[in-house]
Symmetry: C2
Subunit: 429 residues, 2 copies
């Protein structure tokens, strides 16, 4: 294949004509596909249906310790569910509080609490002139929305192949006391799919923050979400590393079963040091009498233990693999060598990250939409929705079927080509 | 019966001896009963078990509108559940957002949001020198904990037989711009069991707050929690009254099924004006992708409609009635005419409120505890846990069986007598 940038004007004009015709053809097909969010597909949702039979009117509703899950109590979650989510996050049970259905909600509450009450007794952020968060980019739009909502200044940190640019992270965190946090998706990052190397995790644990209330917001959303049995990323346990480095309170870990059982009807958890957990619980006890313990029991009984959950995740992997591969096959076949885009080949998670030529992402997303395929909005993977290069596009292959994914990707590559050609032609004028 | 205060010292001394001996006897029995919280009893929890069979692996998981409850979506709750909770709160469906398992959590979030983001665009409370809430007393300790947690100054307002002292409420709300809210339990109030009269509701609706961000926090926790079929309190719909009075945005209504189905595994909701709901949702959309819709579906399918829920509540009433009556019987029999305490006779709700002689509540609760019966801590029904008269005690009859309740109340009246005698003797010295 000839790289587009090596084509002359005539070649590009001919190509544009050909691509435009093809695009009009596809538009005529009336596609209607949604690749915008990391929504599990129907076949994935079906996987967890048997969990709904685990608890019924004749079930013993008591926990292992004998507590009645139907009544008030167990603010920090029932023991067996704390154990399950602790094993999921590779931490100790005592470091875990199981909450409601949404880990995003725990993250929101964590930032919100810091605004009004500070962190373990520090000055409430609402009383500070400036609070900053580091945001590895591209990243998860809903993280950025939380910090934006609270008026926290966000600073882009390039996400490299083995994690955030740690030179930059260290420079900010160790010198600027206004930097209070960093958003991380350490495994199968949203959207690039990379996992943090041991060195990166250790450098995180060994930060020497200028701010006592600096915390790492470690969103372990995809900790069990491998695509392949023989290529599984592994990351170091950040909590242990932080302890070793004399920073036991520096990290909050978040996880949920939203993409294990049911989005919206899963259980979520936060893991942290004893001191952090105590501070969190001093707020939680004001906020609620307790979370849904019947659903916690449902999860614990269904999976029995972490091995049950891991087996379950293999079924998700089988489904997801086909969708990822459908996308990658089209990208490889159609774009390889054209030098108009690069894309990631994750071993897990929910997304493929695509980098178009500078200044093309918005136009590509718009063109796809015009022909019936909705992608995540260009820019969404950056704070304030602003991708400085207008280059990154998040592809979410989970919801459509593999056939629909292939169809949608066909359209996607066509739009990438067309927009790139137009960009190159524009540059010639 | 002779009123204690008409007894002379000798009579009191003889009485004290007799009561002390009886008390030591009871202590020997090793009672272990908990009347501290409004926890439903086992037989009440059993009532809702069939709900757990409504959703299973072969259920159609789609809402009436066809949305898959297993997946992300429906931030404001599924339509049928919004309808159900709207009918529960006697408001329109469009005014309702269904949330997670805890209405307390919605109240907390509402105050928390006001701290950081203000109310519909007003100055965030965290930036104000002083924020005050009116607290009808005696009231619900968990309301007071929320406002205390956020450093909001709480002002006691006497709760009369038909609602809060509205002269005082009007005086504060209409003149002091620092007054931003009032906690209300308008039906079967916690703990006195009274319901607000139409006049009180109308006076609420016709407030002319000095603060634009003043809101009424209307905790409709016991809106369906009647004890008797032939004596049901009814209250006016505050939302409609506020509209009529030109104050459409002045009230937030909260409710949940925690004491209808399962504490912890129910569904909760907030009802308010469109403008308020829009502001709330602008925050909710940052906080979560959505609440547990499968549980919403479970509730909707189980009850079918509000009539199903009302039928269900009759079964609760049957159980609760026996417990209330067991307490009242002992109180009437043992304390009538002694002039050492007064108590309420609610037509619904979860509590009986007892007012001992001034300065006796703490000692009574301590004495009960010493003999194995745990009551709600004295003072808990007042802001900061400080009952200025040390007089009010909340009795929560729901958790023990009627027999246990009678036993516990026997001890309670004994302690009331003993402490009262000691108080009177003390006054003579």
């Amino acid at each position: 294949m000839k790289a587009y940038r090596n084509m002359n004007k005539e070649e590009l004009l001919a190509l544009r004509e050909q691509l435009s015709a093809a695009y009009e053809d596809v538009k005529g097909k009336g596609l209607k596909l949604d690749m915008s969010r990391g929504k599990p597909g129907f076949s994935q949702l079906d996987l967890s249906l048997p969990m709904l039979d685990v608890i019924n009117s004749s079930s013993d509703m008591r926990t292992v310790l004998g507590n009645d899950t139907r009544n008030y109590g167990d603010l920090d979650g029932i023991g067996e569910c704390r154990r399950l989510l602790a094993d999921m996050m590779s931490v100790k049970k005592d470091n875990v509080v199981v909450c409601g259905n949404s880990s995003l909600n725990i993250m929101y509450d964590t930032v919100s609490r810091s605004m009004t009450k500070g962190v373990n007794g520090s000055t409430p952020w609402a009383q500070l002139d400036k609070v900053k968060f580091l945001c590895p980019v591209p990243g998860y739009d809903r993280h950025f929305k939380i910090t934006e909502y609270f008026g926290i200044e966000m600073i882009n940190i390039p996400l490299l192949d083995d994690g955030p640019d740690m030179d930059l992270v260290e420079q900010y965190v160790n010198n600027d006391a206004a930097v209070k946090g960093i958003w991380c998706v350490p495994m199968y990052a949203n959207p690039t799919g990379i996992s943090y190397s041991d060195e990166v995790v250790r450098r995180f644990a060994n930060l020497r923050p200028a701010a006592e209330d600096f915390r790492i917001y470690w969103d372990h959303a995809y900790c069990l979400h491998h695509l392949y049995e023989d290529q599984q990323d592994e990351i170091l346990d950040i909590l242990t590393e932080c302890e070793k480095a004399g920073n036991p309170n520096m990290v909050y870990i978040f996880a949920s079963t939203s993409k294990v059982t049911f989005p919206g009807s899963g259980v979520s958890a936060i893991a942290s040091s004893q001191e952090n957990i105590e501070f969190i619980e001093s707020q939680m006890t004001v906020q609620t009498i307790g979370h849904d313990k019947i659903n916690q029991l449902r999860h614990s009984r269904y999976f029995k233990d972490i091995n049950g959950m891991k087996e379950h995740m293999k079924k998700h992997a089988e489904i997801m693999r086909g969708k990822f591969e459908a996308v990658l096959e089209v990208l490889d076949k159609e774009l390889e060598g054209l030098e108009i885009g690069t894309w990631t080949r994750p071993h897990g998670g929910y997304f493929i990250s695509f980098d178009a030529m500078e200044g093309c992402a918005k136009a590509i997303v718009a063109k796809c939409k015009e022909a019936g395929v909705v992608l995540t909005g260009a820019g969404a993977t950056f704070p304030y929705g602003k991708d400085p290069k207008d280059s990154n596009i998040r592809i979410a292959p989970s919801f459509p079927t593999p056939e629909e994914m292939a169809q949608a990707t066909d359209l996607f590559v066509l739009c990438v080509k067309l927009v790139s050609v137009e960009k190159l032609l524009e540059a010639m004028n």
